[in-house]
Amino acid sequence: MAGEDNGEFYLRYYVGHKGKFGHEFLEFEFRPDGKLRYANNSNYKNDTMIRKEVFLTPAVLKECRRIIAESEIMKEDDNNWPEPDRVGRQELEIVMGNEHISFTTSKIGSLVDVQSSKDPEGLRIFYYLVQDLKCFVFSLISLHFKIKPI
């Protein structure tokens, strides 16, 4: 699959909002040298910021690329997605092969939000990809550090 095996790779995902508990967010990034960074800031009740980083093997990055390539997210565009709002924002930035996307949108509560948007097909791809990526990252972080993300 194009862009899966060679060339550069970078990924960053952010979801967060600013509210009465301050700036609460979750963010992770895969860097080209294999470093995975994970940050989770919640000010609710206990004021803790979790920041973890660990180097991954090429095998893990390759699997990450496969998940992205198979989602075909690089073909989408965020033009018709809901704009980030007071409730929150999501950002997904990916460099893969010769393409660089930096998408932003609001938080997506459920598939109902996807369905009622102006680009349900594209947003659905984003919606599921983000869940699959979070799942992948949470497994890595929780196995390595024995913390329970979120």
Partner: protein
Amino acid sequence: MATADVEAVDFEPEDDDLMDEDGPVEVEVSPRAPPPKLKSAITGGSTSLSAPKKTKGRGFREEADAERNNRFASKDFDSLDSGGGPGPQRSIEGWIILVTGVHEEAQEDDLQNVFGEFGEIRNLHLNLDRRTGFVKGYAMIEYENFEEAQAAISEMNGAELLTHTITVDWAFSNGPFKRRSMRRRSPRGHRSRSPRRRY
């Protein structure tokens, strides 16, 4: 970058005179958007970006850089102590391997049966595709000892599981990898392989 823009504007009054003589003025000259800025602190300014990228998305048109850089700028990310040098890194309670090419209908028992042969599996993550509900295609397995994990990798990488060829490798590394060193084999990789297994 901001100063450059301001200076460019200063020259415009003179330019206008010249342009008038050329007939219809292209109004698009000044409103033309500056080239998209790479938002990422990592890729931005990196010289490794050889070819110009095709960029897409609203993220390139926003100015939230400062805040985002703050989020990741700080150096105080926790990491486990690594021995330094190349090679796999130990996780807090054991050694984690990644299995890829896992059949979408694989069950935890299938992996347990095969990988339990190399030692007690302390943890097994077999994540599902959120859309289809089938296995996403990878599994992460934790062993207590390095030798168990190494044996699982040596024996099972390239083996067949439920008709799929799987790859098995370490998940975590002591340091960054470079493209060139990616193909380097571990010393054990050179030993003659036992025949491929099927399960």
